[in-house]
Structure formats: C-alpha cells, structure tokens
Amino acid sequence: MPLDKNGIAQRIAKELEDGYYVNLGIGIPTLVANYIPEGISVEFQSENGILGMGPFPTEAEVDADLINAGKQTITSLPGAAFFDSANSFAMIRGQHVDMTVLGAMEVSEQGDIANWKIPGKMVKGMGGAMDLVASADNIIVAMMHTNREGESKLLKKCTLPLTGVRCVKKVVTNLAVMDIRDGAFVLRELAPGVSIEDVQQATEGTLVIEGDVPVMDL
C-alpha cells in the first residue's frame, strides 16, 4: 500500500541526524517535525527569521509577531534565536542548514526541480525556494509520485519552469525512496506493499535498480 502524506514525512524523518539544523517547506515537509526519532536533537529553521521553532501555540500563547514561513503562528523553544532575513538566507546560502525538505511539482533525473510556477496559472512566486535549492547540499524532495491526473512527477526533463538545476539528491514519494545519481533515479527503498513494477510504471525518468531493493523500515 502506498504511503500517505504522513508516511512520506515519517520516512524522511529517518534521514534526520543528531545535531541537524533543518528547513522544512510547506505541505508534506512540515509534517516531518512530527516524527523526529527518539534520542536525537534537531533544530528547525524558518526562513522568515527563527531557529529553534517550537510547536503551534495554545490560544493563550498566540503572538502576531511570531510566525513561520507559512505565516502560521508558532512558538519558540529554549535556545531559540530570532534574526533578520539577510542573516536567515546567509544561513541557507552559506550551507549552515544541514537538511532541506521541500515539495515539488516535478523532479528530473538530473536533479532539476520545478515547484513554483505553472504557465497560464496565477504565479504566486518562488519565496525562498530558489535560494534553498541552489544552496543546500542535502535536499530531499517530498511529494506524491504522480500528479492528480496520474502522470509521473519523476521525469527525464522537467516541463515546468525550473526552481533549480541539478540540486535534488533524494526523493521520497508515496511509492519509494530514490537517490538521484548520474542522471538517473536510483531506487533505494519501496513503500510497504509496493512493487518495483509499480515504481517503474509511475516513473517517466530513468529508473536504476541495483540488487535487492528493501522495503522501507518505518
């Protein structure tokens, strides 16, 4: 059975390592914070100016001056710090953030990503996504393997305007975990109950299968 959004988040959370600073995009990535493995400490950065982001506030704690990049009200944890946007993107461009998780409309086998613009539709903007993907060494894309029309989102070449080129290293979808290497998606793990053929069928880009492919350990 393919994963749901929470399952994808849960799998990505296993990529967290002790001491990581992490930037989570809007959507599925946000859910990753709910699955931090036991015994490790990570800190969440939000690009509007906080490190050490905590859970959503109680009604009594709500503060209009304390939001995340999705404009949701948040709290701060002990050891938190606030800073301005220039300093925030200094952290991002300067590769001080250890892991970046974000959603995508399309990913190519070269590691290109498109997630900000659909020609003919209202364009809201790239926000911090272009800075994030151009800078981070460790970018994980969290998304469904196919779009609502059932078309693959893992392509030979992106059809939508790009957010960044050759930057995505790992993709976690409802079907599988894949690394991107040498112009191909390398299948690493399968979602429980999903077959290699399922993934092949849902992947338009080059899919490489090396040896046995384990089932995700969630």
């Binding site: 939000s46 690009e47 509007n48 100016g49 906080i50 859970p55 959503f56 506030p57 109680t58 009604e59 009594a60 709500v62 503060d63 209009a64 001056d65 304390l66 939001i67 995340n68 990049a69 999705g70 404009k71 949701q72 009200t73 948040i74 701060s76 606030f82 800073f83 301005d84 946007s85 220039a86 925030s88 993107f89 991002i92 461009r93 290109d112 209202m122 364009v123 809201k124 903007g125 790239m126 926000g127 911090g128 996504a129 272009m130 800075d131 151009a134 800078s135 305007p161 790009l162 957010t163 960044g164 080129v165 050759r166």
Partner: protein
Amino acid sequence: MIRKVVKDAETAVTGLKDNMTLMLGGFGLCGIPENSIAAIRETGVKGLTCISNNAGVDDFGLGLLLQTQQIKKMISSYVGENDLFEKLMLSGELEVELIPQGTLAERCRAAGAGIPAFYTPAGYGTEVALGKEVRWFKGKPHILEHAFEADFAFVKAWKGDEAGNLIFKGTARNFNPMMAMAGKITVAEVEELVPAGELDPNFIHTPGIFVQRIFEGKAYEKRIEQRTVRQAG
C-alpha cells in the same frame, strides 16, 4: 544625540512623490508598517514601485494601496493571498517582478552597505537568471545581482528611541533591518518610542544612523494570516 522624531505618520511621509520606489518591511502581515501604509494611501501618490516580500491581503497591508491603484509595480518573492492583486496583474494594470527571497534580502542589504553587486547561486538555470551574468566559483554557477535603490524605506519596529535606534520583536524583524539600511529616507514607525538612553546600546538591531524619521504608531492591528493553534495541556 541626533533627534529624528516626527509627530505622526502624515508628517513622516513628507516628500513622497508619484513614481517613487519604496521599500516596505514585513513578512506576510507580520512586522508591516501599518501606520505608514495608511499615510501613503492618504497622500494619493501614484505610480509607486514597491519592494516588499509580499503584497498584503485584499484589505490589509499593501492590499490597501492596491485598492487605490497607487502601485504600478511590485517587486516581491511571494504574492499569494490577494484576489485583487491577481485581478490587477492579469489585467496588466499591475507589473510584477518576482525575486528569490534571499536575493531580495541581500539586494536590500547591499543597497544599504555600499555593495553595488554580488554573486549568488540562487536562481541559476531558471528564468530569474535570464539576461544576467553567470560566473562559476569553486565549480558552482552563480549569477550577478545588483543592489536595489529606494527613495523611501518604511519599516516597523517594536521599540525605538529618539536617536532612531530600533529593536524588533520575534519574527516581525524579517526584512525591516535591511530595508532600514537601504532607504534614501528611512521612516521607522514603532510601537513604543522612548527617550535616548533607555535602550541598551548593546541590543540595538538597527542603529539610528540608518533612520531619518521615527514616530510612535497608533492602534496596531497586527492581523494574523494563519492563526494556527494546538490544544492547551
């Protein structure tokens, strides 16, 4: 100590003219110069270019200047939550330039810091890079970006003193400090204006040298876009 205090928002926008370029602090509706926006609307100036990370919502923030069609062009990173914006943009009444958020922040800082241009990896290989110089550093492609210019910068702080020193609160800091550095005339509105000497000089976010006018704002609404709560206990 150099006094920067003006009596109200109306006085603070003196000299604002048609077709000027403005910077406005804030992220979403957090940390926006509410009083200044109201005063800009009152002046009726037209043809403004506004550099601001977002464009407000229909009836608040920069949405108020969109209603009156005082804005000719928006330079932003994300302009989501605004129906009127979409309508004006699609009809061609509003020009929009979208810029990566980190580049937006750095171009503001560069303007204030006397750095005319810098290289950044953000946007390489995308339409943001069109027409821009590409240069490789340490095996990685970068594009050349230039400092902004702004006739006025409008920022909002939590506390300020008569010398123009500013302190921001929480994530309401965001773009305000860099924009304060970048304005030819920087107007700061603050929730609380105190005499010089009351703020600890060690904890000033924006030194007064960057601020030309300061006033205590009134009746802050501080609207929340996405009120998200958990159950207590």
